[in-house]
Amino acid sequence: MIDVKLYDKETPTWCPGCGDYGVLTALKRAAANLELDPSRTVVVTGIGCSSKINSYFYSYGIHTLHGRAAAVAEGIKLANPDLEVIVAGGDGDAYAIGTEHFVHLARRNLDIAYIVMDNQIYGLTKGQVSPTSEEGFVTITTPYGSPEKPVNGPLLAFSAGATYIARGFSGDIVQLSKLIEDGIRHKGFALIDVLSPCVTWNKINTYDWYKAHSYQLKDHDPSNKAKAFQILSDEDHLALGLIYKKEEKIYEEKLPRKFVANPFQNIEVDKSIENIYEEFL
């Protein structure tokens, strides 16, 4: 096993106590267990507190736009399937402005792991309501309580066709690192949704709250689709662990693509276009 220190980079500027520290630690452990080569790993993020995680994790990284990490990641993975591509970001990033890409990445089943750090709030922009905030939740943009039913991210991924769905908790790094590790290992799209408290702006969904509202999945067969649906639908009791898993062909393998070694490395003028000329005669 590799020393987790290999993955250290800048010191995080998250608030002391932020759930994202736990996620970072878990990610490093998962990487170490998987012996990920930092130079063959890309962590793709959007914008948000959580999306800064690739400033703190030693590997290739690209910190893109709010909501667009999934799409950028797909481009990277398709261009070079040999890379380990991991997406990470917040609940706003994935389930609000990023909904579209999130859903379509899931249905494509590319071999990408997506870690959502769900704190049910907008951290970086200072405490606005999030798509996962509960109905009635009071924030600066919902001073009279949010009138919206929350998005159930894992369920959304499930209905879009995701083939690995797990929920972890920043407060349980051991389990979380295992879920991340398995998610990365999973061949296909893997969602690791993490209950990751924002200690600064969300005074409701705290570590204790999550402890009280979550439970450990036991004796659950993750290949049971109907059961997975039931577990995912229960929003009052948040299941922790691997909820759903299915082996399915990944997008990269379904592409009608002739194998060419390193198609991006040694480029020459492609004179074979002349073979196409007959279409134009």
């Binding site: 980079k9 800048e10 930092p38 130079s39 063959r40 790993t41 890309v42 793709v44 914008i47 800064k52 690739n54 400033s55 030693y58 590997s59 290739y60 990284g61 690209i62 910190h63 893109t64 736009l65 667009r68 799409a71 950028v72 990641a73 797909e74 481009g75 990277i76 993975k77 398709l78 261009a79 070079n80 040999d82 890379l83 579209e100 890409h101 859903v103 379509h104 592409l255 009608p256 693509r257 002739k258 194998f259 060419v260 198609p263 991006f264 490395q265 480029i267 020459e268 003028v269 492609d270 004179k271 074979s272 276009i273 002349e274 196409i276 000329y277 279409e279 134009f280 005669l281």
Partner: protein, 574 residues
């Protein structure tokens, strides 16, 4: 006697088959040794509404349909009401009176009515095959080489069933036969010049696709949109066999971000779109500039604003292409003027994008993207792949790589993921040389300068204006107006008016040559397909030149040469 120059317009209702017929005729012209120019005009719906396709074949090199047509092949009444006047004196009207007969007034042309659809139904059992039948009529009347026609029909349908080929050949014969009831067009002479093996017949979108492939582009992501979809469609067919990927994304936003991702991973990549989709790429284009990633984007301009007239042309995205998006960021914008150039610009776009680590926008317009031209086969030998400072291998073993190192020319070495010793973070936040996020003042200033100064360095590598003719009267234009302008110039020359034609090809960064070319110009006619005169404004902004006269068109249809020449003659008092 008109020799080896024939313009035919085929008009009907959408779904009537004018398109396929036009394609076939164009193919025939090329094989007949002619140059070809075409002009499509069809509505943004699948069925119904008037459609017309004009095809001109000629021995000399042409870029435009010209002012008039020689033949109108009319399958509906709109064809008559819209295009009757367009027929050259001495020309021909063939009117399919199967559905309806009507009185048509023009003494100076030949007019043949025939119930093509009815005959087609009768003889072949397929109404739509009237089109191919009409080609038989034309072939007879103008003495086209019949066996060449048969061969062209055969090849055009060779991907369909044997039956379809047979039916079409048969329809052609019926047409030939039926035409014998009419008098040949003796005032025209269409000779078979023998196919020129060194030419291709294709549209701008195909040329752009070929250019991209030649450049080693292996990734296209796009969301369908008129008139850019063809590039995606073309590459969907041809990239996989080259180890590449064509992906129809869930939206234009997804497409550009995927293309940026692929580019970041080291694969040459592009996204193609038109106005509405181009708007949606605004934010991501800013990201590409900020993280200094190459990406090539095609904006095939169509008639705006908003959904506008999707199947009509316009040149109205210039300012958005150059300046669109918040903040200040380097980017290249180039505008090809014809199908041939579309190929080369597309090829070079990929070099430019990697050399300067910026997004490159190819600004075509619907006329270039869609209309077919006969062009010389592309010279691949002269082309060279230039990838700039990409790093596929790094010796030094620093733990973090200075991805944004300050350098002389503002461009830094660019390792791609997978490369040992190249580890770094790219970020759309302001960052230091390592890609660490920072807001420190001296770094910010240096980074802004680093990013922007390449806009000067790259000028030498970009496409200067093409200048033709001289004098103190100028015509300035860009893109597809080249065709009508060139013919307008011929018309002006005939009236002894000499003009200097300046065709601008690079819009961002604005090149210094334009100012030089305008130095001794007393009056410049800006010919543009837009309302506000975006090119004129751009030139004014960068050169201060203001002795301008605007010739603008914003109805979505192409310029006729005469619209330009007669306006110029009028203004000059000639």
């Amino acid at each position: 006697m008109k020799r080896n120059d024939l313009a035919v317009r085929i008009g009907g209702q959408a779904g009537d088959g004018s398109l396929a017929t036009g394609e076939l005729l164009s193919k025939f012209f090329r094989r007949n040794g002619f140059f070809v120019a075409t002009d499509k005009d069809f509505p943004s719906r699948i069925r119904g509404g008037h459609t017309s396709y004009a095809i001109r074949g000629a021995q000399k090199e042409i870029f435009s349909i010209g002012d008039n047509i020689d033949v109108l092949l009319a399958f509906d009444e709109d064809s008559i009401s819209l295009h009757l006047d367009e027929i050259e004196s001495g020309g021909l009207l063939i009117y399919d009176n199967s559905r309806k007969d009507m009185d048509i007034e023009r003494k100076d042309i030949r007019m043949y009515k025939m119930p093509l659809a009815n005959i087609a139904k009768d003889k072949i059992g397929l109404e739509l095959i009237k089109n191919t039948m009409a080609l038989g009529v034309l072939a007879y009347l103008f003495n086209f080489n019949e066996s060449l026609m048969r061969e062209t029909i055969h090849d055009s349908y060779k991907n369909k069933s044997e039956k379809i080929i047979e039916e079409n050949i048969k329809a052609f014969e019926v047409g030939l036969e039926h035409a014998k009831n009419f008098q040949k067009m003796e005032n025209y002479k269409i000779e078979n010049l023998g196919v020129r093996e060194d030419t291709l017949l294709l549209m701008g979108n195909e040329a752009i696709g070929l250019g991209a492939m030649a450049a080693g582009c292996k990734f296209i992501a796009a969301y369908p949109i008129t008139p850019a979809s063809d590039v995606l469609e073309f590459l969907s067919k041809h990239l996989p066999e080259r180890g590449g990927i064509a992906i129809q994304a869930e939206s234009e936003i997804a497409a550009i971000n995927m293309a940026i991702g692929a580019g970041y991973a080291g694969m040459r990549s592009m996204a193609v779109t038109s106005g509405p989709g181009f708007d949606l790429k605004t934010e991501a284009l800013g990201l590409a500039s900020m993280i200094e990633q190459p990406v090539v984007v095609l904006d095939a301009m169509r008639s705006g604003p908003s959904t506008g007239m999707a199947t009509k042309t316009e040149q109205s995205d210039l300012f958005h292409a150059i300046y669109g998006g918040h903040g200040e960021k380097p980017r290249i914008v180039i505008a090809p003027g014809n199908v041939e150039e579309a190929f080369y610009f597309s090829f070079h776009a990929f070099n430019l994008a990697e050399k300067y680590q910026v997004p490159v926008i190819i600004l075509s317009d619907e006329l270039i993207s869609w209309n077919k031209q006969v062009v010389k086969k592309f010279k691949l030998d002269g082309l060279k792949i230039e990838r700039g400072k990409i790093m596929l291998k790094i010796e030094s073993q620093d733990r973090e790589f200075k991805r944004y190192e300050f350098t002389e020319d503002g461009i830094s070495p660019r390792p791609i993921p997978g490369v040992k010793n190249g580890i770094h973070l790219e970020t759309g936040d302001e960052h230091d040389e390592y890609g660490h996020i920072t807001e420190k003042i001296p770094n910010r200033n240096k980074m802004m300068e680093k990013r922007m100064k390449r806009m000067d360095f790259m000028k030498k590598d970009l496409f200067p204006s093409i200048v033709q003719g001289e004098g103190n009267i100028a015509i300035v234009g860009l893109g597809s107006t080249q065709g009508p302008i060139m013919e307008a110039i011929e018309q002006l020359n005939e009236r002894n008016v000499n003009v200097k034609y300046i065709r601008i090809r690079t819009l961002s960064p604005f090149l210094d040559d334009v100012k030089d070319h305008l130095k001794n110009v007393d009056l410049a006619f800006f010919v543009e397909q837009n309302y506000t005169g975006q090119l004129e404004n751009l030139v004014r902004l960068y050169t201060g030149f203001d002795k301008t006269y605007a010739i603008r068109k914003y109805d979505g249809r192409s310029f006729k040469p005469k619209m330009i020449s007669s306006k110029i003659l009028e203004v000059l008092g000639k």
